[in-house]
Symmetry: C2
Subunit: 210 residues, 2 copies
DNA sequence: GTTTTTCTGTTGCAAATGCAACGAATATAA
DNA sequence: TTATATTCGTTGCATTTGCAACAGAAAAAC
């Protein structure tokens, strides 16, 4: 089963000279791609950080997903409706691998080894995405900010095999990830601290009770 | 690309006598499976309806996913942590196909045609799940009940190629799907109706404005 | 056909959340 | 190093949302 890290390994081992796979660079702040038409595009973020964002009719911006190194994304995963105007924005300088879902299982003319490996392991790659999405849904379905925070902290704690962990992004972004108001979240963090459930210094959290 | 409907076709065409794929029936109200240990189990709901539910520490029940005919689910899609106690409950009599992720790509000894087809099309099956989850996340990230309702209605309307559509489940379940309080949602539905955004009779909705 | 259960529609009230705004602290760019 | 932008931490206040409760409608079970 291929993991996120293995992508890197394969890229190092085999030169990508296959025409159906493209590699591009984007500067911070630029738009990497938009989900408008159905081109079945799939992208892998090799380096940098990017957000999948939605702009509401009233101009409000919402971060739907946050991508880090080796994350997989693209409009191929979305049912594009006219109501959604989704785009992926580079939060730092990004290096992206583009290819199409349609030719993923086709034999590559240049007999490119990376293409072959990608095809063989595509299922596992998506499976990881499913797991991430399931985690996100489980947190988003919690009814209160407190429950969302505790749910997310528990996951981070389990992942880290420790009661202490560092948040993978800023508190501002955390509020976006949990889809709650930042100040309300800060208030709740303070309560959790005051009531002795967590210890917090900057972005480092320690769970005190189970 | 295999679709949900094709599963049915394959089941009709080929008898499933492969040992690594099991078929079981469950009566309404019974537990189909639990996500506790990591057995990499994958299930396909052939008939009936089921819910993936979570029981909180205080006993509250939350519906995380609702499955209908030919949906795919299972603990293989979850990062199981000790904090989650997830189980799948039959809401109606259910017929389920069980198999393991581990042996999905292994050659089946009985040379079973279904197994082979499943293996070849597994990626597409999961891809559909990703799309469903993305839709769900997009709705859950909306900040107000009104926005959630409008977002969901827009999706149903687009899917149906019409401004009128029937909700795929009860209003009680809709509240669960949107992860909001039912009475608060009813209040919001009433406002939407009173303000002329929608027309509603029972479970049939018509969008009046864009 | 009758009983039992679930679902719908509503409301008053309490509690949680979002909004706006601010200075201080950090981080990033020039 | 200084200037500029972003993030953090906090608060008062308005609004939304959740909770509890109930009666009638509809659906399911018997």
């Amino acid at each position: 089963m291929i993991s996120k890290l293995d992508i890197e390994k394969f890229l190092n081992d085999f030169t990508v000279n296959c025409k159906s796979i493209q590699r591009k660079n984007f500067k911070k702040g630029h738009t990497i791609t938009t989900y408008i038409e159905k081109r079945n595009q799939i992208c892998i973020l090799l380096n940098g950080e990017a957000d999948l964002v939605r702009y509401d009719l009233n101009g409000d911006k919402t971060i739907i997903e946050h991508f880090t190194k080796n994350d997989i994304f693209g409009e191929a995963f979305y049912i594009v409706t006219t109501n959604n105007e989704l785009s992926v924005e580079a939060k730092k300088n990004c290096e992206i691998l583009f290819f199409s879902y349609d030719n993923i299982h086709q034999k590559c003319k240049s007999n490119c080894k990376f293409h072959q490996t990608l095809s063989e392991n595509f299922a596992s790659l998506i499976l990881e995405k499913v797991m991430l999405l399931n985690t996100r849904v489980e947190i988003l379905t919690k009814r209160s900010i407190r429950e969302k925070l505790r749910g997310y902290f528990n996951i981070l704690s389990t992942r880290n095999l420790s009661r202490s962990f560092t948040l993978p992004f800023s508190l501002t972004d955390l509020a976006d990830y949990l889809s709650v108001d930042r100040s309300a979240m800060m208030r709740e963090l303070k309560s959790l601290k005051d009531e002795g459930f967590i210890k917090k210094s900057g972005n480092k959290i320690t769970l005190l009770y189970k």
